[in-house]
Amino acid sequence: MPGPEIVTSAQAAAAFDVALESWGDRVAAAGARICRWAVRNDAALPFSCPPSPAGEDDGD
């Protein structure tokens, strides 16, 4: 939830952008993890999963 300071402080506005971006990164990473987990459980998905950041990608 944004606070009113995002319209009075450039730093607060930018910090809110950072929080939003990080939230998006977390959601995207969680989705990719679920995708790879499903593939490791032999799920047949009609798309390939994003690779693991650690590089141990057997999720495709």
Binding site: P4, V7, T8, A10, F16, W37, N41, P53, A54
Partner: protein
């Protein structure tokens, strides 16, 4: 005539035939039940094996997902801190008109009522407020 001869010829073995029929009558259901039990046991064993394999697969996948979850959290938190560090070193200033308009709209979408919005977002607060007002 032929039937009578036949009946007389087997009448000696009548008891044996009746006994055989009785035994067969008992054995048939018993055999069926034994076969059914055997099939059930085989099915249960196959199902137990499949369950064990699925559990092993799931354990491996869950372990790997847990490790990835930790790695993701560390990476994303590090990126977040880097971004916050980058903006914290610059002296703070009032946001420009575009940022004000965006911020005002974000506050509205977050459920802030018009009367609770900062003055800069209200139309009567001048040119910048007009920029922050909704359509």
């Amino acid at each position: 005539m032929i039937l009578k001869t036949l009946w007389e010829s087997i009448s000696g073995a009548r008891n044996a035939i009746l006994a055989s029929l009785a035994v067969a009558g008992l054995c048939l259901p018993l055999g069926y039940c034994t076969g059914f039990k055997s099939a059930s046991a085989r099915y249960a064993a196959e199902r137990a094996l499949a369950n064990a394999k699925a559990l092993e697969l799931d354990a491996h996948a869950s372990d790997q997902a847990a490790a990835e979850r930790v790695a993701d959290a560390i990476t994303i938190t590090a990126h977040e801190e880097e971004l916050l560090d980058a903006i914290s070193t610059v002296p703070d200033d009032a946001p420009d008109r575009v940022r004000v308009a965006l911020g005002c709209q974000r506050l509205r979408q977050a459920g802030t009522g018009e009367t609770d919005l900062p003055a800069i977002c209200r139309p009567e607060s001048g040119e910048r407020g007009q920029a922050g007002a909704g359509p």
